[in-house]
């Protein structure tokens, strides 16, 4: 028994001596090496699926030679559903489809004769490799078209090149199938503004002897269409006038006052009706056969396609600034939180730094992170890799809030700079800065700024329709008349948005629905969605 114990002890001592000799010979591992395994990724939110990393900015469906236009806005369930289906379809079909580069004439023939055209517009562009699921495709796509011709179906990828893919016969019905649930939704119907049109302000006598004003939008290059439009507008007025007497809108007063100094109040159709005329003083417009004197006639040029979404209603919402758990954030940004020293600044912000990188957490909830050591010139990271890295960072450093979309990217020598924006009910929240900004390069993330506003769960007021866009167009002209040379204007954008406003000192934040009207002459102007008062 004792001999057995001695043997075991001797073997143990020999083993220990070998181990100690090893320690002396090679030394203990360095402290830094010993710390590496402590780093653990703790994502605030899971990474979105590939198709939702960069969903389209909008989708436009044109049927029957552009007679029917459907507009899918970013941030809506409809666009997400259509895009998810289409993404799966494209990922499956593109690798087996036959791609060809056609001349502009042939392409135009196919697109013009298509019975169905679904266009996904990407801004920022979509890395082509996302569609193929392989990194071998370095291209960037600004648009993806799904086309149904009389006999064949096509996919047209538009980037630096235009490549047309003819689809297999058994997939021909995909487009109609995917879109069928949406074709009867009136809120998706939209109008495409002509490249040039005339905005007419027409005067006619009302019953009380005063002058009323009507707005007409007429396509300049198609006189017969303009007449039809004017006639339609007249009918619309007649239909609308029955309802209008019941509801008076104080905000229209502003537009009326701007349009006609003598006018005192306005009554108008509450809903969006494509191209309704603006009526003042509760007067009825003359019948379509009556010729009314034209007070003003503005030539509007639209240099790029603009789509006006269909019937829209919105209401104000209360917002709160996002606040993230501080401890988790510090954990996310630093290898070892104990390495980061804390600096309490006089403005209430808390700054963490380990000497190489700094994280500033503002009192309100915003955060800013800088790591100057990671700046690199020139950046060699590809756009697709940078985008994936940015998405991962977003989920790691605070999470990807619902309703947040990548809105802009800038390619610089230092890397890709990405900007995100929040959307509520399909409307972008416009503010002086972006919700989030990140610089990504092949060394990492040298800069990150995050300042999201979240829905506070409190809606304000009731849903009200957006005022007709024609009124918004004229309201901006009336408000900024000295900026226009002659009765001509170049319209760059008109879109429904949310505008962030501070609801008085210490009273929180509200997002007010607004028309964003951007003339080249005025810059962007924001008007209250219902009253058209400038915001």
């Amino acid at each position: 028994m004792i001999e057995r114990f001695k043997t075991i002890l001797l073997v143990g001592l020999i083993g220990l001596s070998i181990y100690l000799t090893y320690l002396i010979w090679f030394g203990s591992p360095y402290l830094e090496e010993g710390m590496l395994p402590r780093f653990e990724y703790a994502y605030f939110t899971p990474l979105p699926p590939p198709e939702l990393l960069l969903p389209p900015a909008k989708a436009i469906l044109e049927r029957a030679g552009a007679q029917e236009i459907y507009y899918f806005r970013r941030g809506t369930r409809e666009l997400e559903a259509v895009w998810k289906d289409s993404f799966r379809f494209l990922s499956r079909e593109l690798p087996v489809a036959l791609g060809e580069r056609l001349g502009e004439t042939e392409l135009a023939k196919i697109t013009e004769t298509a019975l169905f055209t679904l266009q996904f517009v990407f801004n920022p562009p979509l890395p082509e490799s996302f569609l193929w699921g392989r990194r071998a495709f370095p291209g960037e796509l600004s648009s993806v078209y799904l086309l149904k011709g009389a006999e064949e179906h096509y996919v047209l990828l538009v980037g630096e090149d235009k490549v047309l893919y003819r689809l297999q016969a058994e997939e021909e019905n995909f487009l109609e199938g995917a879109l069928a649930p949406f074709l009867d939704q009136q809120n998706l119907r939209a109008e495409k503004l002509p490249e040039q049109f005339v905005l007419q302000i027409v005067s006619f006598p009302d019953g009380s002897g005063e002058t009323a004003v009507s707005l007409h939008l007429t396509a300049e290059e198609a006189p017969q269409e303009a007449e039809e439009a004017a006639a339609d507008a007249g009918e619309g007025t007649t239909e609308g006038s029955g309802e209008e007497g019941e509801e008076e809108t104080p905000g229209g007063e502003e537009a009326a006052a701007a349009a006609e100094p003598g006018a005192e109040e306005e009554s108008r159709e509450p809903g969006w009706a494509g191209d309704p005329p603006l009526e003042l003083n509760g007067a009825e417009e003359p019948s379509s056969g009556t010729e009314a004197p034209v007070l003003e006639q503005w030539q509007i040029t639209v240099p790029q396609p603009l789509y006006i979404p269909g019937k829209l209603e919105a209401r104000e919402i209360s917002l709160v600034q996002e606040t993230l758990p501080r401890k988790d954030l510090v954990h996310a940004f630093f290898l070892d939180p104990a390495m980061a020293r804390r600096i309490e600044e006089r403005d209430g912000a808390i700054y963490y730094t380990d000497g190489k990188k700094g994280l500033r957490l503002y009192a309100g909830g915003a955060l800013e992170y800088t790591a100057p050591g990671l700046e690199v010139f020139p950046n060699r990271l590809s756009y697709a890799s940078a985008l994936l890295q940015a998405a991962e960072n977003q989920c790691l450093y605070g999470g990807w809030p619902a309703g947040t979309f990548l809105e802009r990217r800038e390619k610089t020598s230092a890397g890709y700079r990405f900007f995100w924006r929040s959307y509520f009910y399909g409307l972008p929240l416009l503010r002086t800065d972006s919700s989030c900004e990140m610089l990504v390069n092949d060394k990492g993330m040298p800069y990150y700024r995050r300042n999201f506003y979240l829905y506070a769960g409190e809606a304000r007021g009731v849903f009200l329709p957006f005022a007709p866009y024609t009124h918004a167009l004229f309201q901006v002209i009336a408000l900024h008349r000295p900026l226009f040379a002659g009765e001509e204007a170049t319209l760059l954008a008109v879109e429904p948005v949310y505008r962030l406003l501070r609801n008085g000192p210490g009273a929180g934040l509200i997002a007010v629905p607004a028309w964003k009207v951007h003339y080249a002459e005025t810059g962007p102007v924001y008007l209250h969605w219902y009253t058209l008062k400038p915001l």
Partner: protein, 292 residues
């Protein structure tokens, strides 16, 4: 053969050998060196790297295996008039009388967001910057070059808020002498806090003061990087840019941070490396990063 006896002898021999090896490891761990044979290689590599950087090591590296925590500080926010009066009383020496301290002599002459506030103080001026640093301009009057050291030592001893400052080093130039003191807290040099006397030949000298109010150490202690590692990190930052030979004349552990205009902050322990050419480098003793 008596196997039992042989095993006993072997057990005794290996036991002694293990004791010796453990002792060796303990010695090396406590001196902060990575290993007996590894140490030789490490020293050899370090010497080569130092030579390549035109540097020589004139001090022995301190012991490693230390643990430390962040130091929490806040800016020192004294009543400036009292600070000025204490200086004035000291500089007046025997003739100093508190009753003679005229408040009317002490008033603001300039207030600027970037420059800070400038107070007039008789012929002297005091500048106070936002982050709390003070400059006493023309404070040292009528002193000869060899008396500056004595005056500085007395001042650090006599003036109450300077008593935690300890002499650090002197830089001598033909026209100028600089005496530098660091603040001390719980036995550790707080390099971020300093007291500096600048003597100029034929002109009045200045005093610069930046004092911190230490609030205590943070709870979590952790091991600091060994001095050899800090030296490597320093060499990584230093190597490329030096043309003239220099020597490392001081290598010590303390606390250092930039001057912040903040309410309170944590300061990391640093290995301070001072060179004969006047340059000073601070290597964060937790992260190994060079502190700017």
């Amino acid at each position: 053969m008596d196997f039992s006896r042989a095993k006993t002898v072997l057990i005794a021999a290996f036991f002694c050998l293990n004791l010796f090896l453990l002792y060796q490891i303990w010695l090396e761990e406590s001196s902060g060196n990575p290993g007996l044979f590894g140490q030789r290689e490490e020293v050899s590599r370090l010497e080569t790297a130092l030579q390549e950087a035109s540097l020589s090591l004139e001090v022995s590296l301190p012991r490693g295996g230390l643990r430390a925590a962040h130091l929490v500080v806040m800016p020192w926010q004294p009543a400036l008039e009292e600070v000025a009066r204490d200086f004035w009383l000291f500089l007046q020496g025997q003739e100093g009388d508190e009753a003679l301290w005229s408040e009317s002599e002490f008033h603001i002459i300039e207030e600027d967001e970037h420059k800070g506030i400038v107070y007039s103080w008789g012929e002297r001026e005091i500048k106070m910057k936002g982050e709390g640093s003070l400059s006493f301009l023309r404070a040292l009057q009528g002193l000869s070059r060899d008396k500056v050291g004595v005056a500085a030592e007395e001042m650090a001893k006599e003036i109450s808020f300077l008593r935690d400052f300890v002499y650090d080093y002197k830089v001598e130039a033909p026209e100028e002498v600089i005496l530098r003191y660091y603040q001390k807290y719980e036995g550790f040099p707080l390099y971020a806090g300093y007291l500096q006397f600048t003597y100029r030949e034929g002109a009045d000298g200045d005093i610069d003061l930046y004092r911190l109010e230490p609030l205590g150490f943070a709870e979590q202690q952790r091991e600091v990087i060994p001095p050899a590692t800090a030296l490597w990190r320093f060499l990584e930052a230093y190597t490329a840019k030096q043309e003239f030979p220099a020597a490392i004349i001081d290598f010590g552990l303390g606390y250092y941070s930039k001057e912040y205009d903040a309410q309170r902050w944590e300061i990391a322990p640093v290995w301070r490396i001072r060179l004969s050419n006047g340059e000073i480098y601070y290597i964060n003793a937790f992260t190994g990063y060079l502190e700017n």
